[in-house]
Symmetry: C2
Subunit: 517 residues, 2 copies
Amino acid sequence: MNSPKKTAISPTREQNYPEWYQQIIKAADLAEVSPVRGCMVIKPWGFGIWENIQHVLDEAFKATGHKNLYFPLMIPMSFMQKEAEHVEGFAKECAVVTHHRLAHDDQGKLVPAGPLEEPYIIRPTSETIIGEAFSRWIQSYRDLPLLINQWANIVRWEMRTRIFLRTTEFLWQEGHTAHATAEEAMKESRMILDLYSHFVEDYLAMPVIQGEKTASERFPGAVNTFCIEAMMQDKKALQAGTSHFLGQHFSRGFNIRYLSAQGKEEFVWTTSWGVSTRLIGGLIMTHSDDDGLVLPPKIAPAHVVILPIIHQEDDRADILKYCDQLAAELKQIDYHGRRVVVEIDTRDIAGGEKAWHWVKKGIPVRLEIGKKECAAQSVFMGRRDKAYKDKKTISKEELIKTLTIELDEMQTQLFSRAKSFMEKNTKVIDSKERFYEFFKGEGKGDGAGGFALAHWNGSAEVEAKLKQDLSVTIRCIPFVESVSDVGSVFSAESKQPGKCIFTDEPSKQRVVFAKAY
Amino acid sequence: MNSPKKTAISPTREQNYPEWYQQIIKAADLAEVSPVRGCMVIKPWGFGIWENIQHVLDEAFKATGHKNLYFPLMIPMSFMQKEAEHVEGFAKECAVVTHHRLAHDDQGKLVPAGPLEEPYIIRPTSETIIGEAFSRWIQSYRDLPLLINQWANIVRWEMRTRIFLRTTEFLWQEGHTAHATAEEAMKESRMILDLYSHFVEDYLAMPVIQGEKTASERFPGAVNTFCIEAMMQDKKALQAGTSHFLGQHFSRGFNIRYLSAQGKEEFVWTTSWGVSTRLIGGLIMTHSDDDGLVLPPKIAPAHVVILPIIHQEDDRADILKYCDQLAAELKQIDYHGRRVVVEIDTRDIAGGEKAWHWVKKGIPVRLEIGKKECAAQSVFMGRRDKAYKDKKTISKEELIKTLTIELDEMQTQLFSRAKSFMEKNTKVIDSKERFYEFFKGEGKGDGAGGFALAHWNGSAEVEAKLKQDLSVTIRCIPFVESVSDVGSVFSAESKQPGKCIFTDEPSKQRVVFAKAY
C-alpha cells in the first residue's frame, strides 16, 4: 500500500499551491497579514532576507555610479496630472491623505480634522515628485547623467492582495536617471536589467527570461518596459523586476531641460527601475518544498544552525561549550563578502522538533551536536536541499574546511533545479488549439501549463482575448541576445520570424505566454 | 582698519544663526525643502551621513540582541485610542488617509474617491500597531524578552518646520521591547540611552548630557523618558535621542500578557527608543563654521577629496594618472570598520573654486595635486578643522602612513572643541534674578544663555511659567552617574540637594534648563 508521505507542510504543493504558499510563510515565520488592509508585517526572518537583498543590490548600484537619496512619501495630487498615462495608470490605487489631525466629535469619537487645501497621495512610485526636482537640478549637459536611487515604502491600493507578492504597502528600491541622449538612457535601462538578472540568478538562484513588455503591459508613462520573468513551481510566471525607458514623457511633463554643449535647449531622457519585497515571494515559490522554506545560502539570513541535543543533564555544560566554540570558529569564515551567520538553538525541546523547526525555516545547514559529536569533535550535518535523513558525520576540522563548498554546492544545485524546471515547462507551440489545450490543462502533467513560446501578430486584441479566455498574458518579448538566456528554451528557430498562431499574420519572433502572479 | 573677514557662508553664525544654518545646508548640498509642506528631499551628501549613522547603529542594535523587522506605515485610527495619553499627545499632528483612489469630477479635475470605512493615520510612531502584534506574539515567559527595531519614515504634522530638525516627514529607527519585569525593561531603556550616548559622542563628536525628562516633557504614554541633550553653537539645546520606559501602559492598552514560569498571567513591561534624521541637524549646528559644513571623519560620506590642479593641457594625463593611483591606494586603507572613501573632482574649474566647493561640503581632508606634487610624488594637504591656508606638503608615502592618524586627530579635535564650548556655556545659577538675566541675554557674551544648572522644586507650574516668560524648558534631570557626563559641568556640589531658586522649596538635585530646538 502506498500511504502518502508525511510532510511538514500541509497542504502540499500538489494539493493546494496557494494555501501551501501561505503555510510556508507561517511555518518559517517570515511575515504575517497585519490588521491594516492588504498590508503585512515583515518579521525578522523575512526581513533578514530583504536586508541581504538590499545589501547586495545597493553595492551594485553604487558600483555603477548611482547615489542614494530620499524623497517625500507624500506627493501633491496635482503632480500626478502632469503625465497623462501615468495618472490613469495609478489613479485607481492611490491612498489619499486629506486631513492633518484628529479631533473628537460630539460623541467623543475620533474623527479626521484639519482638511488639507490640496490632498496628497502616498507615493505609488516617485517619477512625478522626482521629475519636479530634476527640472530644478538639471541645467546643463554637465549635470548629466544624473543617476539616483532610493529605498522606500510604496502604497498601491490593490483589490486582491497576497503576502509578499502583492500588498498594499511594500518595500522597494526605485532608480531614476536622466541622460542627454536617448541612446544613453536606453543603455542605462538595459544595463540595469542585466544587473537585476545577474542578481536574481546568482543570489536568489532564480533563472529568469529577459525581454520587453508589450504595450498593454507597460508601466504607465513608459516608452519601453523591460523585465525579467521567472517561473514558479506551479508553472506560473512572476515578474521579478522591471526597468523602464521613459523617453521624454516625464521630461516634457515636468519641463526637465538642459543646455547642450552646443548651446541648445533640450529635454532630457529618463529611466526608472525597481525591484521590491515581491522578490521574497518569488524566492519562496521557486525553491521551497513540502517540508518548508528552502533558502539559497547566498541570501539566507543565517547559514548554519547548531542544535545541541542534550539527553542527560550531566552532559549539558560540555555540549554547550563545544557548540559555542564551534559557532565562534564558523563565524570567522567569509562567504561571498560577508561572514558566515550562525544560530544556536538552545531551547529545551526534543531534538527532532528542534531540527524540524529549522528545516521549515529553510536554513541551509543544520549541525546536530550530542554527547557523541562532542566527544569526537565532530558534527552530524544535514543540508536543506537534501532529504531530511540524508545526514553525515564529519569532523569539525573537515566542516570548517568545506563549509563554503557545501554552501556553494547547494546554491548551484538550487539554481540548476529551478532552471531544469523552467526549461521542462517551456514549450514551443505552433497552433491555437494546442495553445488553448496547454493552458486549459487538458492532458494534465508535463504537457500542461508553463511558458508557451508562440508567434503573435503584435495586436492588443489578441492579448485581450487570451486574457479573457485563459487568464494568459504575454510575459515578454524575449531578447534574442540576453545575459540570462535560459539555454535550451530559445533554440535558434524560436528567434526566427513566423506566423501568428491566432491570426496567421506575420510575427517577428516568438513571445512568452503564461499565467502570471 | 578692521574689515570683517570674508567668509564662504553668508550670513555668519554671529550675524544670523538660523539663516546661517539654512545656508550651510544649501552650500553643502545636504538637503532641500520640497514642494510637499514641511518635508525635505535628503540629497546624496546628506543621505550619505544618514547611511553611516544607520550602519553603525544597526550593528550596535544587533550586537545587543535586537532584530530588525517592518510594520505597516498606516495605523487604524481606532488603535490610537487604546492608550489615552498617547492619542492626546499625537492627535494634533496626524496625517489621515481617508480615500483609496482618485477620480475626475465634472470639470475633469482630480478628486479623492473611494472613501474608507475606517480612516488610517500615517504612523507618528508605532507603539500602537506594534502593541497589537506583541499581544499576539507573546504568550509565555519563554517569548521574553522580545527585542525588535525598525528603520522607517514617520509623519508628524508640525506647524513650524525646519530642515532636518523638525520636518513633517522624517526618517528614524524605533526600537520596541517587551520584558517580564519592570527591572529588565528599565535596564533595557538605560542600556539603549548609553548606546546612543556612546554613538553620538564617538561618531558624531557631539558631547551630550544624559538625564530624565520631567513629566511635562515625557513621551505621550511613557512612565519615564530618558534623553541625551547636546548644545548647539547658539547655546540652545538639542534633544538628540530618547529612550522610554513605558511601564505597563501599552501592555494594558493592548492586552499584552504572558504566562510566567510560575504559571501566573502577567502584563509585560515595554520600552521604546529612537533617533532620527534630526541628528544630522545637530551635527551641522555643533561643528560647522562660517566657511561651511564640518564633518567628523567617522561619519563623513567621504573622507578625502583629490583635487587635480591642471594649468597646462600637457600635464593633464600625468596629473590625472597620479591622482587615480593615489585614490586607489587610499581606498585600501581601513578606517573604523570601513574603507577610506575618496572623491576625485576632475571638473574644469579654477583650483580655488574647486577647493572651496569641498570646504563648504565639510570633507575632512583635501589633497591638491598639481604638476609639482605629481613630479615629487607628494600631496598638498588641507584639513577641514584647520584654517583654509594652513596646508602642508607631505610625501604620498607619508600620507598613506598617517591618514588615519590625521582623521582621528580631527575627530578628537571636534569633540574637544564642542565639549569645551558646552562646559564654558553651562552655568551653575543660584538665584531667580540671575536666571532671568542669563536667559534674557542681559550682559551678553559669555555670561548669557546656554545651560543653566539650577535647583527646582519639581512643579509643573514653575516649568510652565519659565516656558512662557523665557521660552526655557527643563532639558533633563541629569543622571548623577552617566557614561557621558560632561566632566567639569557637574561638580559634586551640583548633584547635592538644595533649594528651588523660584520657590525656595526643597530640590533633590540641580536640573538642566535651556532654550531648545
